[in-house]
Amino acid sequence: MLVIFIHMQVSSTEIIYLIGLCSIIFLIAPVFLIIYVLLYNRRKRKHAEEKVAMQINYENELLRTQMEVQEQTFKTIAYNLHDNIGQLLSLITITLSSVNVNDSYKTAEKISIIEDLTKRSMKEVKALSRLLHGEELLGKGLTAAIEAELDFLQRSDRYKINFTKHADIVFDDSSKAIIVFRLFQEIINNIIQHARATEIFITLEQVAGMYKIIMRDNGVGFDVDQTMTTKTGMGLLNITKRAAMIKGTAYISSVPEHGTVIILNIPITD
């Protein structure tokens, strides 16, 4: 076995230049470190910008939701004024104009009718006022606003409302309450417009840090997957999108001729 020993003598000048070279190499490390920090910071800026954009988007959506809630309330008021109170007042006018003061028997009968019509008109006005107040109730709690909305709906006698409350829905963030209320309004609207239902079941629950709102009807139902691809499905997509905006979920299930169930799961805190 041959072992070769190579003896190298390194001169001090070479060591000195090696130290100099090491110093230069030592300068390269901070350069890369600074580049890394700057690149990471740029990513942080991008993230911050995205966050701001999301916040603006959320605020815009919230504003739109608030306007929709108001619009819905005004639409109901306009509809009611025209169809109910307007009709009642017309009847009162017609009855009044047909009063013959010489026919005391018929006059008494007509006055009684007018009295009844006026009472009904007042009832309608009070209900409308409660509806307007319902929107204000949002400030005090979502449950109160939902109850006010259901009260108004029940008055039409078109639907049998089954409302079960296992929990009071209260959010610290008022914007969250507005969005949930709008979701509720939108679902009720869908039932009124498309479901042809006679009975509506609404349940409020609280399960493991989440509020659960279950809304069911006995209407005609629909094919969820198919509807989602059509223009009508936009409303359903909107419900899902808005629920996601407040970190919640909207589960939509429907079978043609067997009604629809929509379950909203909204986290109590962020």
Partner: protein, 217 residues
């Protein structure tokens, strides 16, 4: 004319920039930088003078090491202020450095440069710079670092102290073997390069600071 060297000129230019850009700064720590740079200039000039006249300038740089350690430590502490760092750590470090410095000088009989203290100080300042970067990366708030005065001040310091590590570690060897012609010494050349990088970063930092002050008013 003997006083005009790369080191004296770069230090003086940086001092001038500090005087122009920081003299009206609201933060006393940044204004104190002017005095520190004046001390640096004085040390460089005195260092040249002592080298020419007395053939050794170790005493100048030994005294300057104290000023450098005191001010730089305070400035790092000041930069960490936003992150609620305790004064206790600054005092512990300064106490430990003083003990180490005095012990080293006594062991050297006050006739050599406190190179071990300088090396330890460099390592601590490198760690302090890394900690600053770490805090910046951890911080959720975004800050435009490209135009951030503290960031460039720390970067300049990191270049200088990290780059000088090799020379500090082999100080004794270089002192013995790298002495033929001072201006051609590798150690001297490395420090010229480090000083130029340090002062360029700091100069940019002062400009950023000035721009920030002007924009805020």
């Amino acid at each position: 004319m003997i006083f005009i060297t790369y080191n004296t000129v770069s230090a003086f230019l940086c001092f001038l920039a500090a005087l122009i850009f920081l003299v009206k700064d609201k933060d006393p720590a940044w204004r104190l930088l002017i005095l520190f740079l004046l001390a640096s200039c004085a040390a460089e000039v005195l260092g040249v003078y002592m080298r020419r006249v007395m053939h050794t300038n170790l005493a100048v740089y030994n005294i300057y090491l104290l000023v450098e350690c005191g001010f730089t430590s305070y400035f790092y502490y000041h930069l960490y202020n936003n992150y609620k760092h305790k004064l206790r750590w600054l005092l512990i470090w300064l106490g430990a450095f003083s003990v180490m410095y005095i012990t080293e000088l006594m062991l050297n009989h006050f006739s050599d440069f406190a190179s071990v203290s300088a090396t330890v100080m460099s390592v601590v300042f490198v760690l302090a710079s890394l900690l600053y970067y770490f805090l910046k990366l951890q911080d959720d708030r975004f800050e435009p670092l490209l135009t951030s005065a503290p960031f460039w001040w720390v970067s300049g310091a990191l270049f200088f102290y990290f780059g000088s590590t090799a020379c500090n570690l082999f100080f004794d060897f270089l002192k013995e073997h790298d002495y033929s012609g001072y201006s051609r010494s590798v150690r001297y050349s490395v420090f010229i390069l480090l000083n130029i990088i340090l002062y360029t970063c700091w100069l940019f930092s002062f400009i950023c600071r000035y721009r920030q002050r002007k924009l805020s008013t």
